[in-house]
Point group: C2
Chain length 249, copies 2
DNA sequence: CGATCGTTTGATCCGCATCAAGATAGGTGG
DNA sequence: CCACCTATCTTGATGCGGATCAAACGATCG
């Protein structure tokens, strides 16, 4: 049953049953409650994680004690792909649960030693990193060329596809605070951007979002966001993982 | 002789002589003159490249015909690592030579098919991508927290280490135009930031840069820039490649 | 010597950050 | 059920940094 689970994860999708069994024998499932840290900046890099359920915020401590969110990862996504690849011994970032989470925890030492017998996991990791790099670059481009409202519109559109929400109405999965941090804008700026979303065919009242005019939205949201590779890869996975996690834990 | 050359490249440093020979048989060395495009946005992804000599600008076309430089790569660095990993069929970015360049050109189809027999090139690629992702995130953090002058100071510091320049005085390798684009600021903003560098112990007159007070500089430049992994990995390689390229071409 | 490209400088404007205060909501306990 | 508290969000006023537009300056090259 758990074998099926693992193969549903993008990163293990090409692994055969023996490899999956091997991974299971050398890993365990842990939970991380909302608000708890999975690891902190400076901690030793000990494990590779894959999120089964929930969402985790990855962020840096800037010199001024300010938090700079580098990503929010959800079910199906992996944590520490970059540290694993860069052979860092200590974490450069913090990881904190923003909802109650369940994660698969694999010792990184073991992974490094058995990399060659884990199938084409390396190529899966490559894909993950390449996608994230691309996302990062698109994001920088956005910041240089778009207004806060447009950035927000892109993000909402992405969220909707990623989580397979009903475009006609859904509830924000995170606090606006967190979303602002993720988008590298201030809470206040995000608040002020909300009314402007009307022009893009998006209405937000409280934490309720609805796309009222997809035609308008499509015109303003950049095409790279509307058909993100990430979205396609994980679409439907989130809901699927919800079910599996119940069995898994 | 060329075998030695390839193994000097970070990405082939762990490959054995047979693997190097295999790569040589299936690749060729090309040149790309200053200003020429190696490929353009929308072109089919056909080859993987490693720069022997020179520097290439990678940039995106934004909707408004604006150029957004995502990176400037130099001797020893590889182009298309992300496209190879993400299995993209068409280029999302442009690559243009900003100096006369020599490159190793490897068919990407052949690479994909022979990935497993190319040694741990996959893990090298992982490292490259992880480093670039990290760089991208540090860069975003910089933009959110530092002034244009500080960003510029960090970059000059990085340049100096990367190219193994004499900190007491060196000449900018690129036009200020290009540097500004790379740093995602405007030419004018860069110009105006130059005088402010005095406060960080850096003097720039024309295209001549000199670090006059390293103590001051160290205080203002973020530590992530001063000891970049990239810098350490490629330090000295640039000068080495210069020699090799003469033999190679 | 004009022509082109790269750079600098000046004037102005706009968007976002910042600071400050008020509003809303969710939760707890009397 | 209401008063209270805290966390989250919104709104207002203000300022600053960098973008933008415009023009002059400098260098390089046929």
């Amino acid at each position: 049953m758990i074998q099926l689970t693992l193969q549903a994860l993008p990163i293990f999708s090409d692994s055969n049953p023996e490899q999956v069994a091997l991974i299971i024998r050398n890993s365990r499932i842990i939970t991380c409650d909302n608000g708890k840290f999975l690891f902190r900046h400076g901690d030793r890099v000990t494990h590779f994680y894959v999120i089964f359920r929930g969402a985790m915020q990855l962020f840096r401590d800037t010199p001024l004690g300010y938090e700079s969110t580098s990503n929010i990862l959800t079910a199906g996504e992996s944590i520490n792909a970059d540290e694993l690849a860069a052979c860092q011994t200590n974490h450069a970032i913090n990881a904190r649960a923003v909802t109650d989470c369940s994660l698969l925890e694999i010792p990184i030492l073991w992974m490094r030693e058995n990399f060659n017998i884990l199938g084409n996991m390396a190529s899966k990791l490559l894909t993950v990193l390449a996608d994230r790099l691309d996302d990062a670059q698109v994001e920088m481009e956005h910041h240089a060329t778009m207004s806060a409202a447009q950035i927000l519109a892109c993000y909402l559109q992405k969220l909707c596809v990623l989580y397979d929400y009903d475009p006609r109405g859904f509830v924000l999965p995170y606090t606006k605070q967190l979303i602002a941090s993720r988008l590298r804008i201030e809470r206040e700026t995000l608040s002020r951007a909300l009314p402007a979303l009307k022009d893009y065919g998006i209405t937000v009242t409280g934490s309720h979002v609805s796309f009222t005019d997809m035609h308008k939205t499509k015109n303003f949201v950049c095409e790279k966001c509307s058909v993100s590779k990430q979205c396609k890869a994980y679409r439907g996975l989130h809901t699927g993982m919800e079910k599996i996690s119940v069995r898994g834990t």
